[in-house]
Amino acid sequence: MKDAVRRLNEEYQFKLTDKEIDLVAQQAEEAALLFKPLFEVNVDGITPLTKVDKRERQILAPKKGKK
């Protein structure tokens, strides 16, 4: 993750110090761990949510559970 932060640092010209790069990389690693369980859910046939109008909610896919 540190390499990815360094690449962003270069592209965006943030001028981050090494300590700051470590901090950001740590946050990104924590986020990756947080997001991991999302992929343990079976979402076959479920389209992304875009609005919560009743009309929108009526086209819900069949209920799916954890894999």
Binding site: F14, E20, L34, L38, T47, P48, L49, D53, K63
Partner: protein, 479 residues
Amino acid sequence: MKTVDLEGLTIGVLAPLLKKKQISPLEITKNYLERIARLNPQLNAYLAMAEDDALAAAKKAEKEIRHGKYRGPLHGIPLSIKDNIATKGVITTAGSKILADWVPDHDATVVERLKAAGAIILGKTNMHEWAKGSNSINPFYGTPLNPWDTTRIPGGSSSGSAVAVAANLCLGSIGTDSAGSVRNPASLCGTVGLKPTFGRISSFGGVAGTGGYTVNHFGILTRTVRDCALVLNQTAGYDPKDPLSSDVPIMNYTKTLGAPVKGMKIGIIKGYFDQCITNEVRQAFDEALKALKKLGMKPEEIEIPHMDLIPAAQAASTRPEANSDHDHYLRTRPRDYSPGLLYSLIAGLLTPAPVYVHAQRVRRLICQEFDDAFKSVQIIVAPTIFSPAPTIDDCNRGYIEADGKRINLQDRAGNFLTRYTIPFNVTGLPDMSICCGFSSGGLPIGMQIVAPPFREDLVFQVASAYDGVTEWHKRNPPL
């Protein structure tokens, strides 16, 4: 003309007096401006005042009412607007250094509608930098202070709005809420805070980058449930300028106020809302449930199978959505963000696109689970925050001490101050926080009332029934 004590004044009380010409809109506006001049240096609720515009609008309201052109319950009513909502000719900073000098050339739709209803806009309220946090410790404009105890945070990000309402520095305020930013400060300051259904109030004129597109809502802070309904009546409804606004028909939200709730089933979600809850909040919430039972409501445990994924779904949605609006400033003015915000925005750039899309699919699943739950209950209730307001020192060191243990304010899944409110951003469900008690230290505690999509009428019905048998909402902070 009558003189009015601003302490504890409500829209519901003032509006009929204005209509009957017993109170002058100009006098009342002057009274609020004087009170703000006296108390704002201590509380830091307002970032900018719109004094000239407010006085001009008050004069106009006075003239119109005198000539029998009464526009309705908000005519001549002094309100405030969070500083990430565009106000024509009035500075709009979003609590940021980057927008320190921005003066919009247009009003947000919600501001336009309030002005059309005759409301008086007193000024812009302080907030967390770019609305990206809930302690509102703001390095650029100072930290708004909780009027119940000025060593404590008021919550956020709509902190100034909640402080202004609780301290009687206006009669209502418009905030925004992408993780709890209306309900969280409402809970910590003891006011009413409504986040309506996603799309119920137009978001046009919200400052880009102050909330993810699919989780952000405009909301209302007032002293009473009735006042909240009066403001929603004027601000709800489809807006062609906001493609995410809803065309589901609006209602008269005052209609269900005071209606009986006997026989209604209340859903209680077990587990999720027990995370780190303090004893004082648990006790207050249990007492509130007893009061609802006395009203004839029937609590029932419900299950939301994927509740545990809500923090991940929220973070995976809001980070990329809000980041897209910061790209320009990240490239040109990165050091004009506070360091903590800069780091989290950069980390947000590393969220892979499949994570975002997958999170939206999980969100639909969670919405369906809530829809299923609402087949057996009419309403869901939950505590708003796990603890009463932390001190500013607690926030700076990152934890509170309660019930003999240390509770961190942040973990991998995000901010604990918004942990209980994000389920209703992920699902877009209408949710109101009302005061349901006070801690032993005299700090307000909030309870959330949640209904199916576009059933704000049910939220108002239950909230008003609860307020009818309790006195919490009548307390004033010791200023």
